[in-house]
Symmetry: C2
Subunit: 200 residues, 2 copies
Amino acid sequence: MTANTPLLQQLIDALKALPGVGPKTAQRMAFQLLERNREGGRKLGTALLHAMEHIGQCQSCRTFSEQELCAICSDPSRSQSSLLCVVGSSADLQAIEQTGQFDGRYFVLMGQLSPLDGIGPAELGLDRLEQQLAKGDVEEVILATNPTMEGEATAYYIAELCHRQQISVSRLAQGVPVGGELEYLDGSTLSHAFSGRKRF
Amino acid sequence: MTANTPLLQQLIDALKALPGVGPKTAQRMAFQLLERNREGGRKLGTALLHAMEHIGQCQSCRTFSEQELCAICSDPSRSQSSLLCVVGSSADLQAIEQTGQFDGRYFVLMGQLSPLDGIGPAELGLDRLEQQLAKGDVEEVILATNPTMEGEATAYYIAELCHRQQISVSRLAQGVPVGGELEYLDGSTLSHAFSGRKRF
Ligand SMILES: [Zn+2]
Ligand SMILES: [Zn+2]
């Protein structure tokens, strides 16, 4: 029999929504919070409810934001930059910000092209990206999608958009390990890849 | 700069209350919930608040329970058993229940003796255990504390309590790996250790 009470079992089941958390880890997390850190558990519960409810996407770059415009898009020195970096996720944006190497603006795809999963240009907001490019103030688009097959296909598609509007396109330099995921790179690899980017 | 908004940063910080979750993992968890599973994030938030608020301890065996008595202590066929198994935590109780080898009652210490951390007999409810033993209906106490130094010291202390009341004491059989933690054992090792328990 399971000796877990209904509330405890609900908590354990709910913890399995976290990536990399199976039943055993979920149980350990639940017990640890109950035994040693109820205040932390309460704070986490409240933070989750607030975040899930109030965090939307920036109307300009699509990164996560509870404001209409994120901090970067609200900063004129960045939102009027002629450099636009396209990334797959907010986590990738965050990883690039942490290198301190880039002071332009971003466009966050929140995914990558994957026709089999029903993810096409519309799902990645590429119509909105095209409108932004059509304004004519972007001189270079830096493609910083993941160096995976789907990331490359996505980059190729966006490069075509740019070519049609005669906008320069570059891609992060090799140095990014093939098949890896951008958000796990150390900052210095990412810095090198950034400064060594080449024309697409 | 960090590109995380205040709500997002609060969520990431709050996730670090979970055991084994550092800043990088916390960020990944936050993004994954926001991107792909907001419903799961909301459920987890609600489950955490309910659990932290409403889960207390069983008045008899001290395991986690939102009722005054847990399911085992509410079951007469178990709560009147002459076998009482003492465990360090609710997770250990749960691990033993899953072997299906034991149908007696439990006493959950919620810790182990650790004078340097201010954890003495009172903190482990040993006064209450002594009262339960004094009723005279327990014939054997099975000590299933962790096979660590502190677990052994705790077992020794409880064995003394039992000897004073002329109650038999046994300890889980060797087979439990020295220095290991009970809740991570596979069920069959634990079953063997249970059935091969020896007089203390
Ligand atoms: Zn933005
Ligand atoms: Zn109980």
